[in-house]
Every structure is written in C-alpha cells, then in structure tokens.
C-alpha cells in the first residue's frame, strides 16, 4: 500500500483498535458473533474515521474519487471483521442508485446525510421472489396530490431496521415488465410510525451480528422528490447500480482471504509436527502456495475490474458480473484449502485465535450470495455470449481503456456513470486483448526479460481461451432455461478473464517491475497461470506445480498483508 492513501490511514487507525479491549479486538469480535450482536462500537469507530464520506462520489461532495480506493478501504475493515465491514458498507450500496441515476440535488443531499452518518439500505428482494427483480410486488402508486404511496414488503435486507433511509425498488405499473418498476429513496425519519414496520432480524449462519431484516410499508406516502431517476426506469437503474456494487463488494472477499491466510500462516509457524514446524512440511507448503495463488488471482481481477469502472465503463455489465462470480468462488475454495491445513482448529470456536477462522469461513459464504449470486452473475455473462464471441474473433478492444485499467500507476479518469450500459456491445476488452498481449510476452522472452516457461503458459491460456470461445459460439441461445453447460462455460470464461487480467497487469509493469520476490522471474504470473490452466484444461494441466512451493516461500516470509499490490505504485488503489 502507498503511504498517504485513505486505506493506509484507516489501517493505522484500526491497528490501534484491534488489540486490548478495542472494538476490533479479536476477543470482542468473537464474543459479539457468539451473541449475534451488532458490532456497534466498531461501526461507530468507522464513522468517526469518516468512512461514510468515501461512499459518496466527489462530484456530489464526498471523498469517493476512485473505486479501487473503496475496495482497499473495505478490505482493510473486512480483514478484521466481515460483520462490521458489511454492516457499515451497506450504505454505499443503498446510495448507489442515487449516484447513478439521481438528480444532482438528490445526490448532494444524500451525500451530506451519509457523511453525517446516516445509514442507507437497499430494498430489492422480497420473501417469495429472491433475485427475480421483475417479480417484485411492493407497489408505488400515484396519489391525487402528486405523491407516491408505497405498499408491500422487502425482506432479507441488510440494515433495513437500523437504516435511516432505504432505496426501494417498487412496482409502478401493475403489469410489471422491464419498464414497470421505479426506485424511491425513502426517508424513514419522514414517515409516520404507522406507515412502516421493520421485520425481525433473521438468524444467519455467518455475519451473525448483522441486521438482516426487512421492512413492510402500509400506505407510506413519499414526496415526488423521492423518485430516483425516471418513473419506469427502476430495473435499468438497479441493474446499472449493481455494476458498481458487485465490482467493489468483492473487497469483502479479499479481506476475508487476508484474515484466513494470516491465521493459517501464523498457526503453521507455531504448530509442531514430527519435530518440525507445520509450515516447513512439503505437504503444507504446496496447499499454502495454492491458496495464496487464489488470493493473487482474486486481487488481480478485482483491481482490474474496479479500475475498469473508470477506464472501460461501458463494459461494466460484464466486468462486474465476471468479478462477482469469480472472486467469492475462488476465495471460498481458498478458505477450504486453508481449513485443511488448520485441521481441528478451523472448526473449534474458542481454542485457537478466538475461533476467528471458523467465523471468517462462515461469514464469507454470504459474499457469493448477496448482491447477485454466482448463478445470477453467470447468467448475465451467458446472455452476452454472442457479442463476446464476435468481439473476440475480431480482437476488438478499447486499447487505451484497457491500458489504463491494467496499469496501476496510470491516472484514472472520473468514472462517468452515465456511460454504464445494460449490455456491453463492445464485449470485454480484457479478454479480447489477450492474443495481442501474448505476442508482446513472446518478444520479452526473446529479450531475456521473461522466462520462456511463463510465456508458454500464456500461449496455453490463449489456446484455451480460443477453445472456450468456440464452445460459446456453439451454444444455442437460451432465453428461458439456461442449460448447465452454459454455466460451466461461463465459469471457464471467468478463468480466461482472470488469466488475461494477470497477463495485462504483469506486462504493463515489466518495464519498471516492483522490487520484491513476487515479481522476480514473473513468479506471481506463473503461479496464477498454472492455477487458471488447471481449471481450463484439467485433463492435462501445463506448467510446474512446484511454482506453488516457491510462492509459499514468499507467503511465509511476508510479515504484513500478502498482496500483489504491496510493492506496486498505484493510482487510487491499495
């Protein structure tokens, strides 16, 4: 991390609060989880730090200039307590529709409220409809005096009870349909008590202290100024806002991965087996290196995707869905691999490190579910297969945008949210730029700047990516029931995206590669490509699995957070 960024300042502040009887001290975090109690003091500390202002774009008076910075901030909180990170971070999600589609007056007013500590929740889902937004029944109808009257219920809503405001997706045309819904920013403080009722907190497997509840409106009248965007524009608005939230939400996975890796490495260093430290046993090194590689892949993907919100904005319908499907999935896998190393201690709730490992393992499950599950996101990618196939064949790409998204030091333009689109008619530049990037890698081998073995892996990725596109091209259209094969292909496309993101990132830093053992001989790139190829070509995965042992050496020697970005100079990132 670079000195002077907000994430570094937040980390310094939290270091003072995560020991003794501080609000982020492991013992307290574990106790609140056992008691299913909300982390009030922790969220209060985040508020005092001024985290809320980072949820408000600068153009509306806040401090959110770069989305990678928000990722870095949330990751810093999440590696200490996911419950607090999710409980506090929800306000960004609640505000997202207003940032994307609200009027300047609405956005500035909400920004001031959020900076003063107001909590905003996001009411999308309903009890009987899950993630099918078009099935929502909560209604808003025009009143004779030009207001809107809300009736109905939103359920499984984070902070529905604790929040002062809630963005609600409401049916404004009885017939529904894609133009039959609108978003309202409802200020609970302005409603009479009879107009709404908060539903009881649901008990959950992870993030047990979180306020996962709901809200029911009964003839709740809101002014016309509560309407965000156009009447009938709600589905479009929500789908665009989700592109922001899905991209940054994976910060929660990165933080969880940081915590799980730190707990495991510390344990493996102190635990003795056969008169040796666990961490020195080859059978521990290999999985440790593999697990750490998953974190590097997740980090590369979330870095590129959060930069892409600025640099490849019209492609965000894809980059956000790919990221939200890929990152929580690989981090779930990573945490299971680490759990094997932790053995019984991954399972015991008060024997080792206050049972934080089993807490993070439980807590993290929600990340692959909320804000669009892995299946929902894969479906969004499947819908765009035809354009992806065409654009890949033509090697079409936004070369400047791609360079900015994958060059950590490149200045980021302001994210112009009016350029978000429901589909990306340009496809995905990160993947479409892979063939050209592989050619560049080849010339680096000839100059002696890259081991040939790593360039061979990149070639193998290119061949696998060609094959994935051929299979995508052969998929019949699936407007209703999506076959399992399509989901499998979407998963493979994610792996191509992740591998391509790594190749671009490495290439754009080879000239002035950061010092440090991760970058030497392209170690991290080699590990990530071997991992991605083992998914894409499981029958004969190329590469040397020993790369994971070499990577494990770096993991064990890393004192702070294990990160690709640690040594790299970045713009607006950790």
């Amino acid at each position: 991390m670079n000195p002077g960024t907000p994430a570094v300042a937040l980390d310094a502040r939290l270091r003072e609060l995560d020991t003794g009887d501080g609000p982020f001290a492991p013992a307290l975090v574990a106790k609140l989880d056992r008691e299913e109690a909300f982390p009030d003091a922790a969220c209060q500390a985040l508020e005092s730090f001024g985290l809320g202002a980072h949820y408000v774009p600068t153009r509306h008076g806040g401090r959110l200039a770069h989305y990678p910075e928000l990722v870095a901030l949330w990751r810093t909180v999440a590696r200490r307590d996911l419950t607090a990170a999710i409980g506090h971070g929800k306000t960004f999600l609640g505000g997202a529709c207003t940032w994307v589609g609200g009027s300047p007056e609405q956005a500035v007013a909400l920004g001031q409220d959020v900076a003063r500590g107001a909590r905003v929740s996001w009411g999308l889902t309903e009890r009987h409809h899950g993630s099918d937004l078009l099935a929502g029944e909560l209604s808003a109808t025009r009143t004779v005096d030009g207001r809107w009257r809300l009736n109905g219920e939103k359920w499984l809503i984070n902070n529905a009870t604790r929040g002062e405001l809630i963005s609600v997706l409401a049916r404004t045309d009885a017939n529904g349909g894609p133009r039959g819904f609108s978003v309202f920013l409802v200020d609970k403080r302005q409603l009479p008590p009879s107009a709404f009722r908060c539903l009881p907190k649901e008990r959950t497997h992870g993030i047990r202290g979180a306020d996962i509840s709901g809200i029911a409106f009964t003839d709740a009248d809101v002014p016309d100024t509560a309407l965000v965007g156009k009447a009938g524009g709600g589905i479009e608005l929500v789908l665009k806002a989700l592109q922001l939230t899905r991209t940054v939400a994976v910060a929660m996975s990165l933080g969880a991965a940081d915590q799980a890796l730190r707990l495991t490495v510390d344990f493996a260093k102190e635990h003795q087996l056969y008169e040796r430290r666990l961490v020195d046993l080859p059978r521990a090194r290999r999985p440790l290196g593999e697990a750490a590689t998953q974190l590097l892949l997740a980090e590369a993907v979330s870095t590129v995707a959060s930069r892409a919100l600025h640099a490849l904005t019209p492609e965000a319908s894809l980059t956000s869905a790919l990221t939200k499907a890929f990152v929580p999935t690989v981090i779930n896998e990573m945490i299971s691999q680490l759990a094997d190393l932790m053995g019984a201690r991954s399972f015991l709730s008060d024997v080792y490190a206050h049972g934080l490992f089993q807490k993070v393992e439980r807590d993290h499950r929600i990340i692959a579910i909320f804000d669009g599950s892995t299946l929902v996101n894969r479906n969004a990618v499947i819908n765009q297969f035809p354009v992806l196939v065409r654009a890949f064949r033509q090697e079409r790409r936004d070369a400047d945008g791609l360079a900015t998204a994958t060059t950590l030091g490149a200045p980021l333009p302001e994210a112009d949210l009016s350029r978000l689109g429901l589909v990306s008619t340009a496809g995905c530049s990160v993947v479409q730029g892979l063939p050209a990037a592989v050619l560049r890698l080849q010339s680096l081998v000839e100059q002696g700047a890259l081991p040939k073995a790593v360039a061979d892996l990149a070639h193998a990725l290119k061949r696998a990516t060609d094959a994935v596109h051929q299979r995508m091209a052969a998929q019949p259209p699936s407007p209703r029931d999506v076959p399992p094969e399509a989901f499998h292909l979407a998963e493979h496309y994610e792996a191509c995206f992740a591998g391509a993101a790594c190749v671009h990132l490495w290439l754009n830093h080879v000239e002035r590669a950061p010092e440090g053992s991760l970058w030497r001989d392209a170690l991290w790139l080699e590990a990530c490509l071997v991992r991605v190829l083992s998914r894409l070509t499981p029958e004969a995965p190329p590469g040397d699995p020993g790369v994971f042992d070499r990577l494990a050496d770096v993991v064990v020697d890393t004192a702070g957070v294990f990160s690709l970005l640690a040594d790299a100079r970045t713009e607006g990132a950790s």
């Binding site: 894609p178 035809p386 354009v387 689109g421 429901l422 589909v423």
Partner: protein, 86 residues
C-alpha cells in the same frame, strides 16, 4: 454509409433473429405481439441490441427493446434512429 433498409426488410430480419432465440419458425412471430409473449426474457432481449448493432453498423441503446417491445414498434424506432444517423 449503406442505404437505409426498408421497414419490411428490417421487420423480417428481426422476426428471423427472434425466431432463432425462442426456437420457433419466423412465420410464427407476429409483429404486433410483445416479444415477452414468445418467452423472450426481457434481460435476454437486450442481447438483440448487439446483433442489431452488427447488422446495422450503428450503436444503439439496448433499452430500445424495452421501450418498443414488439417487432412493429421496434422497426419504427430503428428506422428513426437510422434516419437521424444518416
């Protein structure tokens, strides 16, 4: 700039495209029936924008499919976009 397609040509191109998506015969797709009635999911319908961009060589707002949910309506809207782009 290619010459503007006729309403008939555009309409029949749309019918055959949509017929492929919903796996029916083009002659079964009526121009005045909302596409959702043929089982074309509204989010999936956005995909058609990519096909149209390729076919017509101009950039479109995908939500055109939502504002004009029948082939007849979509054809008229597209002709307007084409005319103003010409």
């Amino acid at each position: 700039m290619p010459s503007l397609p006729s309403a008939e040509a555009l309409s029949s191109w749309l019918s055959s495209r949509i017929a492929t998506y919903v796996q029916r015969r083009p002659e079964d797709i009526r121009a005045d029936v909302p596409l959702a009635d043929y089982g074309l999911d509204s989010v999936y319908a956005l995909t058609l924008a990519g096909d149209l961009e390729d076919h017509l060589g101009l950039s479109l707002d995908p939500t055109l499919m939502w504002d004009h949910p029948t082939i007849a309506g979509l054809t008229q809207a597209l002709l307007q976009v084409l005319a103003s782009a010409a």
